[in-house]
Protein backbone atom coordinates (compact mmCIF):
# COMPACT_ATOMS: atom_id res chain seq x y z
CA UNK A 1 0.00 0.00 0.00
CA UNK A 2 0.96 3.62 -0.29
CA UNK A 3 2.60 5.63 2.45
CA UNK A 4 -0.45 5.21 4.66
CA UNK A 5 1.08 2.07 6.14
CA UNK A 6 3.82 4.25 7.67
CA UNK A 7 1.20 5.28 10.23
CA UNK A 8 0.62 1.64 11.14
CA UNK A 9 4.36 0.90 11.33
CA UNK A 10 5.29 3.96 13.39
CA UNK A 11 2.09 3.65 15.41
CA UNK A 12 3.01 0.13 16.49
CA UNK A 13 6.49 1.35 17.46
CA UNK A 14 5.04 4.25 19.45
CA UNK A 15 2.72 1.86 21.26
CA UNK A 16 5.59 -0.47 22.10
CA UNK A 17 7.84 2.35 23.28
CA UNK A 18 5.13 3.88 25.48
CA UNK A 19 4.53 0.46 27.03
CA UNK A 20 8.27 0.31 27.68
CA UNK A 21 8.08 3.72 29.37
CA UNK A 22 5.23 2.39 31.51
CA UNK A 23 7.32 -0.57 32.63
CA UNK A 24 10.28 1.72 33.40
CA UNK A 25 8.00 3.95 35.46
CA UNK A 26 6.73 1.00 37.44
CA UNK A 27 10.29 -0.29 37.97
CA UNK A 28 11.50 3.10 39.18
CA UNK A 29 8.49 3.55 41.44
CA UNK A 30 9.25 0.23 43.10
CA UNK A 31 13.03 0.64 43.17
CA UNK A 32 13.08 1.16 46.94
CA UNK A 33 10.14 -1.09 47.78
CA UNK A 34 10.80 -3.41 50.71
CA UNK A 35 9.78 -7.06 50.65
CA UNK A 36 6.76 -7.96 52.76
CA UNK A 37 6.63 -10.66 55.45
CA UNK A 38 6.56 -13.39 52.74
CA UNK A 39 10.07 -12.31 51.64
CA UNK A 40 9.02 -11.71 48.03
CA UNK A 41 10.32 -8.34 46.87
CA UNK A 42 9.54 -6.49 43.65
CA UNK A 43 11.40 -7.87 40.63
CA UNK A 44 12.28 -5.52 37.77
CA UNK A 45 10.34 -6.06 34.57
CA UNK A 46 11.53 -5.93 30.97
CA UNK A 47 9.51 -5.92 27.74
CA UNK A 48 10.22 -8.31 24.87
CA UNK A 49 10.04 -6.68 21.42
CA UNK A 50 9.46 -8.61 18.21
CA UNK A 51 9.28 -7.62 14.55
CA UNK A 52 5.76 -7.82 13.09
CA UNK A 53 5.61 -8.06 9.26
CA UNK A 54 2.97 -5.71 7.86
CA UNK A 55 3.21 -6.16 4.12
CA UNK A 56 4.84 -8.03 1.26
CA UNK A 57 7.76 -5.64 0.72
CA UNK A 58 9.88 -5.27 3.82
CA UNK A 59 7.37 -3.22 5.80
CA UNK A 60 7.55 -4.27 9.44
CA UNK A 61 6.19 -2.92 12.70
CA UNK A 62 6.92 -3.82 16.31
CA UNK A 63 4.95 -6.00 18.71
CA UNK A 64 5.42 -6.59 22.43
CA UNK A 65 5.51 -10.35 23.00
CA UNK A 66 5.57 -10.27 26.76
CA UNK A 67 6.84 -8.92 30.06
CA UNK A 68 9.70 -10.77 31.69
CA UNK A 69 10.78 -10.48 35.31
CA UNK A 70 14.47 -9.97 35.98
CA UNK A 71 16.30 -12.96 37.50
CA UNK A 72 18.81 -10.90 39.41
CA UNK A 73 18.90 -11.57 43.18
CA UNK A 74 17.00 -9.17 45.40
CA UNK A 75 19.09 -6.57 47.20
CA UNK A 76 19.75 -7.25 50.89
CA UNK A 77 20.70 -4.30 53.06
CA UNK A 78 21.87 -4.57 56.66
CA UNK A 79 19.58 -2.37 58.73
CA UNK A 80 18.57 -4.07 62.01
CA UNK A 81 16.48 -1.11 63.19
CA UNK A 82 14.16 -1.35 60.15
CA UNK A 83 10.74 -2.80 61.02
CA UNK A 84 10.92 -5.18 58.02
CA UNK A 85 14.36 -6.57 58.95
CA UNK A 86 14.73 -10.36 59.27
CA UNK A 87 16.35 -12.28 62.15
CA UNK A 88 19.86 -11.47 60.86
CA UNK A 89 19.02 -7.76 60.54
CA UNK A 90 18.77 -7.71 56.72
CA UNK A 91 16.07 -5.86 54.79
CA UNK A 92 15.14 -7.29 51.36
CA UNK A 93 14.59 -4.71 48.65
CA UNK A 94 13.72 -4.91 44.93
CA UNK A 95 16.36 -5.91 42.36
CA UNK A 96 15.79 -2.78 40.24
CA UNK A 97 18.90 -0.87 39.22
CA UNK A 98 17.76 2.79 39.00
CA UNK A 99 20.66 3.78 36.72
CA UNK A 100 19.78 1.07 34.20
CA UNK A 101 16.15 2.14 34.32
CA UNK A 102 17.02 5.79 33.66
CA UNK A 103 19.07 4.75 30.62
CA UNK A 104 16.16 2.60 29.48
CA UNK A 105 13.81 5.55 29.92
CA UNK A 106 15.96 7.90 27.83
CA UNK A 107 16.28 5.27 25.09
CA UNK A 108 12.50 4.69 25.03
CA UNK A 109 11.66 8.39 24.92
CA UNK A 110 14.17 9.05 22.12
CA UNK A 111 12.76 6.18 20.07
CA UNK A 112 9.25 7.50 20.71
CA UNK A 113 10.28 10.94 19.44
CA UNK A 114 11.92 9.43 16.37
CA UNK A 115 8.73 7.64 15.39
CA UNK A 116 6.57 10.71 15.99
CA UNK A 117 8.84 12.62 13.64
CA UNK A 118 8.56 9.87 11.02
CA UNK A 119 4.77 10.12 11.21
CA UNK A 120 4.86 13.91 10.90
CA UNK A 121 7.08 13.70 7.82
CA UNK A 122 4.81 11.08 6.24
CA UNK A 123 1.78 13.24 7.01
CA UNK A 124 3.26 16.36 5.41
CA UNK A 125 4.31 14.34 2.32
CA UNK A 126 0.81 12.90 1.98
CA UNK A 127 -0.75 16.34 2.34
CA UNK A 128 1.51 17.62 -0.43
CA UNK A 129 0.54 14.61 -2.56
CA UNK A 130 -3.11 15.58 -2.07
CA UNK A 131 -2.35 18.96 -3.60
CA UNK A 132 -0.86 17.38 -6.72
CA UNK A 133 -1.88 19.17 -9.93
CA UNK A 134 -3.28 22.23 -8.20
Amino acid sequence: MSMFSIFNVSGSAIGAQSQRLNVVASNLANADAVAGPDGKGYKGRQLMFETMPMGPDGTAGVRVTGVKESNEPLRKIHNPSHPAADAQGYVTQSNVNPVEEMVNMISASRSYQNNVEVMNTAKSLLLKTLQMGQ
Binding site: I6, V9, A122, L125
Partner: protein, 151 residues
Protein backbone atom coordinates in the same frame (compact mmCIF):
# COMPACT_ATOMS: atom_id res chain seq x y z
CA UNK B 1 -3.34 8.36 -28.84
CA UNK B 2 0.34 8.64 -29.76
CA UNK B 3 0.36 12.37 -29.21
CA UNK B 4 -1.17 11.92 -25.81
CA UNK B 5 1.45 9.30 -24.97
CA UNK B 6 4.16 11.78 -25.93
CA UNK B 7 2.59 14.33 -23.64
CA UNK B 8 2.40 12.04 -20.65
CA UNK B 9 5.55 9.92 -21.03
CA UNK B 10 7.60 12.28 -18.86
CA UNK B 11 4.78 12.29 -16.33
CA UNK B 12 4.80 8.48 -16.38
CA UNK B 13 8.50 8.41 -15.51
CA UNK B 14 8.02 10.76 -12.57
CA UNK B 15 5.01 8.83 -11.30
CA UNK B 16 7.06 5.62 -11.22
CA UNK B 17 9.78 7.46 -9.31
CA UNK B 18 7.16 8.78 -6.88
CA UNK B 19 5.79 5.29 -6.18
CA UNK B 20 9.31 3.98 -5.51
CA UNK B 21 10.11 6.94 -3.25
CA UNK B 22 6.96 6.13 -1.25
CA UNK B 23 8.05 2.47 -1.00
CA UNK B 24 11.50 3.50 0.18
CA UNK B 25 9.99 5.85 2.74
CA UNK B 26 7.97 2.92 4.11
CA UNK B 27 11.04 0.68 4.36
CA UNK B 28 13.00 3.42 6.17
CA UNK B 29 10.05 3.94 8.55
CA UNK B 30 10.08 0.20 9.31
CA UNK B 31 13.79 0.35 10.09
CA UNK B 32 13.32 3.30 12.46
CA UNK B 33 10.34 1.58 14.10
CA UNK B 34 12.45 -1.54 14.71
CA UNK B 35 15.54 0.27 16.00
CA UNK B 36 15.09 -1.42 19.42
CA UNK B 37 13.88 -4.85 18.28
CA UNK B 38 16.40 -7.64 18.93
CA UNK B 39 17.37 -9.65 15.86
CA UNK B 40 15.87 -7.24 13.32
CA UNK B 41 17.83 -6.97 10.06
CA UNK B 42 17.60 -3.50 8.49
CA UNK B 43 16.24 -3.45 4.94
CA UNK B 44 17.37 -1.13 2.22
CA UNK B 45 16.09 -0.31 -1.23
CA UNK B 46 18.50 0.07 -4.14
CA UNK B 47 16.66 2.93 -5.83
CA UNK B 48 18.63 2.75 -9.08
CA UNK B 49 17.94 -0.96 -9.46
CA UNK B 50 14.26 -0.52 -8.59
CA UNK B 51 13.89 2.30 -11.09
CA UNK B 52 15.59 0.24 -13.81
CA UNK B 53 13.18 -2.62 -13.11
CA UNK B 54 10.16 -0.31 -13.13
CA UNK B 55 11.21 1.26 -16.44
CA UNK B 56 12.15 -2.08 -17.98
CA UNK B 57 8.68 -3.43 -17.31
CA UNK B 58 7.02 -0.58 -19.12
CA UNK B 59 9.38 -0.76 -22.11
CA UNK B 60 7.84 -3.98 -23.41
CA UNK B 61 4.38 -2.52 -23.84
CA UNK B 62 2.92 -4.91 -26.37
CA UNK B 63 -0.55 -6.36 -26.45
CA UNK B 64 -0.06 -7.97 -23.03
CA UNK B 65 1.62 -6.61 -19.94
CA UNK B 66 2.53 -8.64 -16.90
CA UNK B 67 2.88 -7.30 -13.39
CA UNK B 68 6.02 -8.63 -11.70
CA UNK B 69 4.58 -9.35 -8.28
CA UNK B 70 1.25 -10.81 -9.30
CA UNK B 71 2.14 -12.51 -12.61
CA UNK B 72 -1.28 -11.50 -13.91
CA UNK B 73 -1.60 -10.32 -17.46
CA UNK B 74 -4.14 -8.03 -19.03
CA UNK B 75 -4.65 -8.63 -22.72
CA UNK B 76 -6.02 -6.05 -25.12
CA UNK B 77 -8.23 -7.43 -27.88
CA UNK B 78 -9.31 -4.14 -29.39
CA UNK B 79 -7.20 -1.26 -30.67
CA UNK B 80 -9.05 1.12 -28.42
CA UNK B 81 -8.30 -0.86 -25.26
CA UNK B 82 -5.78 0.72 -22.95
CA UNK B 83 -3.20 -1.72 -21.62
CA UNK B 84 -2.73 -1.72 -17.87
CA UNK B 85 0.64 -0.50 -16.75
CA UNK B 86 2.62 -2.53 -14.19
CA UNK B 87 2.77 0.52 -11.96
CA UNK B 88 -0.93 0.09 -11.20
CA UNK B 89 -0.38 -2.86 -8.89
CA UNK B 90 -0.44 -2.09 -5.18
CA UNK B 91 3.05 -3.40 -4.50
CA UNK B 92 5.77 -2.94 -7.08
CA UNK B 93 8.50 -4.59 -5.04
CA UNK B 94 6.92 -8.00 -4.41
CA UNK B 95 9.81 -10.10 -5.73
CA UNK B 96 12.16 -7.31 -6.69
CA UNK B 97 15.93 -7.65 -6.69
CA UNK B 98 16.22 -4.07 -5.46
CA UNK B 99 15.00 -4.81 -1.93
CA UNK B 100 18.00 -6.02 0.06
CA UNK B 101 19.48 -5.82 3.53
CA UNK B 102 21.46 -2.86 4.80
CA UNK B 103 25.14 -3.27 5.62
CA UNK B 104 25.75 -3.34 9.36
CA UNK B 105 27.96 -0.47 10.51
CA UNK B 106 28.25 -1.23 14.22
CA UNK B 107 27.68 -4.85 15.24
CA UNK B 108 25.46 -5.16 18.30
CA UNK B 109 25.00 -8.01 20.74
CA UNK B 110 21.24 -8.35 20.16
CA UNK B 111 21.62 -8.93 16.40
CA UNK B 112 19.91 -5.66 15.42
CA UNK B 113 21.55 -4.11 12.36
CA UNK B 114 19.74 -0.74 12.27
CA UNK B 115 22.05 2.28 12.18
CA UNK B 116 19.63 4.92 13.46
CA UNK B 117 21.73 7.90 12.31
CA UNK B 118 21.97 6.54 8.79
CA UNK B 119 18.26 5.72 8.68
CA UNK B 120 17.25 9.15 9.92
CA UNK B 121 19.47 10.82 7.34
CA UNK B 122 18.14 8.58 4.57
CA UNK B 123 14.56 9.25 5.70
CA UNK B 124 15.01 13.03 5.48
CA UNK B 125 16.86 12.70 2.17
CA UNK B 126 14.10 10.53 0.73
CA UNK B 127 11.40 12.94 1.94
CA UNK B 128 13.06 15.82 0.09
CA UNK B 129 13.47 13.73 -3.06
CA UNK B 130 9.81 12.67 -2.84
CA UNK B 131 8.81 16.31 -2.63
CA UNK B 132 11.00 17.30 -5.55
CA UNK B 133 9.47 14.52 -7.67
CA UNK B 134 6.06 15.91 -6.69
CA UNK B 135 7.12 19.35 -7.86
CA UNK B 136 8.29 17.95 -11.19
CA UNK B 137 4.89 16.28 -11.64
CA UNK B 138 3.07 19.49 -10.74
CA UNK B 139 5.21 21.48 -13.18
CA UNK B 140 4.61 19.03 -16.00
CA UNK B 141 0.89 18.94 -15.27
CA UNK B 142 0.82 22.73 -15.51
CA UNK B 143 2.73 22.57 -18.81
CA UNK B 144 0.25 20.06 -20.27
CA UNK B 145 -2.65 22.11 -18.97
CA UNK B 146 -1.39 25.27 -20.61
CA UNK B 147 -0.85 23.36 -23.87
CA UNK B 148 -4.45 22.08 -23.72
CA UNK B 149 -5.90 25.49 -22.90
CA UNK B 150 -3.71 27.28 -25.42
CA UNK B 151 -3.29 30.37 -23.30
Amino acid sequence: MLMFANLTSALDFQSKALVLRAERQQILASNIANADTPGYAARSLDFKQAMTEALGNSAGAGSTTTTPGLALSVSTSNQRHISMSPGDSASTLGHSQALGYAVQTQPSLDGNSVDLDRERAAFTDNAIRYESTLRFINGQAKTILSAIQGQ
